[in-house]
């Protein structure tokens, strides 16, 4: 990749105010092609707010958010509607799982295909060959994704009946169905047991290697963060306090004080 190309995601000076509360204060972050980047910080640091700002759920007070699918031209997405952000190739999962509980596992994933398919009302009623072909492609692709996250045997179960860890993986499969170039994972290992967490780590690595999707993840489990990430950003009270490789960050005194220190206290 040439030096001139844009990062996939480039956020600068992101600030978000909720009334008097400044949840984010001038945060910079970028994710380049093929990277796994972690965003860490103590509770209520503003990590989820950061995700919500860059995916269009909130419109940030200040700052610039650019995305670039191939590095040749970039697009400013401040205040863009969430569905358009997804359509432009940035997909996410949620910290407090947000599946479609009474739809089946497979249907959940097929819904993710919505923005990559086109058939309308007429197509649905006539069920012409084009619609059928598109529908079949969605189903096949969704099964494929379910296999990737290891949920194919639950395809016809209702999403709400899945165990917790499986629900998290289903959310990942669903967001991958939107064909993103970058995937944002909000605490994907939360509530998982050690074995599930290890499998999740493998999954994230596979997403990068096989699907060529870059990953930005928020995670509290430091083992996961250290093993997966190429680079780490640390935020505290809405402020970026450090950034760098896992070694750099784990040696950074500010981080040890703010983050690791807090963990030792706890």
């Amino acid at each position: 990749m040439s030096k001139l190309s844009y990062p996939l995601l480039d956020v600068s000076n992101l600030t978000m105010d909720f009334g008097g509360l400044r949840a984010l204060n001038g945060v910079d972050l970028s994710v380049k092609s093929g990277e796994i980047v972690a965003l860490i910080g103590p509770n209520r640091a503003g990590k989820t707010t950061f995700f919500n700002c860059i995916t269009g759920i909130y419109t940030p007070t200040h700052g610039d958010i650019y995305i670039s699918a191939r590095g040749d031209k970039r697009r400013r997405i401040n205040g863009m509607k969430p569905n358009l952000v997804t359509r432009h190739g940035m997909a996410r999962t949620f910290q407090n799982i947000r599946l479609f509980p009474t739809m089946t596992v497979l249907e959940n994933v097929i819904v993710g295909r919505h923005c990559r398919t086109h058939s309308g009302i007429l197509g649905a009623v006539m069920r012409n060959s084009r619609t059928r072909r598109e529908e079949q492609e969605s189903v096949d692709r969704s099964y494929e994704l379910l296999e990737k996250v290891g949920l194919q045997m639950f395809a016809d179960e209702l999403a709400k009946n899945l165990p917790y860890g499986a629900q998290r993986r289903l959310e990942i499969a669903r967001s991958m169905a939107t064909d993103p170039f970058i995937l944002l994972l909000d605490e994907p290992a939360a509530g998982m047991n050690p074995q599930e967490t290890a499998e999740l780590g493998e999954l994230v690595l596979r997403i990068r290697e096989q699907e060529k999707i870059a990953v930005l993840l928020i995670e509290h489990d430091m083992k996961v963060v250290m093993r997966l990430s190429d680079r780490i950003y640390v935020v505290e009270y809405g402020q970026g306090i450090a950034a760098g490789t896992p070694e750099e960050v784990s040696k950074n005194p500010a981080v040890i004080k703010a983050y690791l220190g807090e963990e030792h206290d706890a």
Partner: protein, 401 residues
């Protein structure tokens, strides 16, 4: 026992509450007071029994969901099989269809007429089911679109002499248009707020029809609306009703066909996703605005079309046919039927329309029975008569096929 004690308390409380009403009677002519102690006994015994049975059922329900879960799933499986296994449901459909065809030939005009009304409500229920059951948008003003269709036919016929078959698609189109008109201002609203605004919308339409005399002829309504013709042939009363009946059967079949296809399509899944989680739905790249508007429009289309048929059936319409009560009944059909279930909605439409017709003797207690049965449903079977059954084999991989 604890339950008996509670029920006793309830019965004493009721005897006390109803004492002035049920026991004391002042005879104004004789200027005496009658003490009807027997009534108190009736109230007491009645309240005790009612409370006890209620408690018993509630307890059984609680126990049932805890202990007898497997039994419940077996029952669910059975309904599931009837509704999803072609071997089971094909004969049922055949019998129903044959029955539907011969019904008007063996029944008198009165019966056929009632059945036409029931079928109208089936279509209304299926239409509202798109909005409420599939897309999860609580719409309390649905009757407005029904009124739009009915008045479209009445007025277009009165002023321009347009025939039934011309206005039928126009009514449907106007329904869709009004659906979008309602949809726009309520895009940001959800739940209770949405319900209140849609309720207001329904009332606005009715009040306009009631008060804008020059346009809609006010409360006196419009009469002499022609029945649908059949290539210029005129019918006598009975065959006209038969004709309308077959028309409605065709309409119901068409509605089922379309709604079923919509439900199992890209758009139908978007509606369901919207119902389940609006934020996640948007995060999946679904345009919330477009999805809501299509739901409102496609739901209202059926009310518009069926409104035209209603006007043609009664040959007389006025705003009194389109009160909030109608919206409430249609919504009850959707809720009673089980949100999103086509078979359930049809069943509920028949129950809610036919029962009151045949129980004319109890017409005074109609609303009471109606309310009581709603409460009972919500307590004991909140998922509706037939909960929405997911077709498990609806999606096959191409390699399996």
């Amino acid at each position: 026992m604890f339950g008996i004690k509670k029920s006793l308390l309830v019965s004493i409380w009721f005897m006390f509450l109803t004492f002035p009403l049920m026991v004391i009677r002042v005879d104004t002519i004789e200027k005496t007071v009658q003490w009807r102690w027997m009534n108190m006994v009736y109230v007491g015994v009645g309240a005790f029994l009612f409370s006890y049975v209620w408690r018993f059922l509630l307890e059984r329900k609680a126990a049932g969901s805890a202990v007898d879960a497997p039994a419940a799933t077996v029952k669910e499986r059975f309904t599931q099989r009837i509704l999803t296994d072609p071997k089971m449901y094909r004969p049922v459909i055949a019998i129903v269809l044959v029955g539907a065809v011969i019904f008007p030939l063996i029944m008198d005009t009165y019966q056929v007429n009632i059945m036409v009304t029931a079928l109208i409500y089936v279509v209304l229920g299926l239409g509202l089911n798109i909005v409420v059951g599939l897309a999860g948008l609580l719409d309390l003003g649905y009757v407005a679109f029904y009124a739009v269709g009915a008045y479209a036919y009445a007025l277009l016929n009165y002023h321009f002499g347009l025939g039934f078959w011309t206005v039928l698609p126009i009514g449907a189109g106007l329904g869709a248009l009004f659906g979008i008109m309602l949809g726009f201002p309520v895009l940001r609203l959800r739940g209770d707020y949405l319900a209140i605004v849609t309720l207001g919308f329904g009332e606005i339409i009715r009040l306009v029809l009631e008060n804008w005399n020059e346009f809609s002829f006010g409360p006196s309504g419009i009469s002499n609306i022609p029945r649908p013709g059949f290539f210029g042939m005129a019918f006598d009363m009975h065959s006209a009703t038969q004709y309308l009946y077959y028309l409605m059967v065709a309409m119901v079949l068409f509605t089922i066909f379309v709604v079923n296809r919509l439900q199992h399509s890209r758009i139908g899944r978007a509606w369901m996703a919207l119902r389940e989680d609006e934020i996640a739905c948007q995060a999946m790249g679904i345009d919330r605005t477009k999805t809501k508007l299509t739901a409102f429009a496609l739901g209202a289309t059926w009310a518009g079309a069926v409104g035209v048929i209603f006007a043609a059936k009664t040959t007389f319409i006025n705003p009194a046919s389109f009160t909030f009560m109608e919206s409430a009944i249609i919504l009850s059909i959707v809720v009673l039927g089980g949100m999103g279930s086509i078979v359930g909605v049809m069943l509920a439409a028949f129950i809610l329309v036919l029962l009151p017709e045949y129980l004319r003797a109890f017409s005074e207690y109609r609303m009471l029975i109606f309310g009581a049965s709603m409460v009972l449903m919500m307590v004991f079977r909140p998922q509706g008569l037939i909960s929405n059954i997911r077709k498990k084999d609806a999606y096959k991989r191409s390699s399996d096929a």
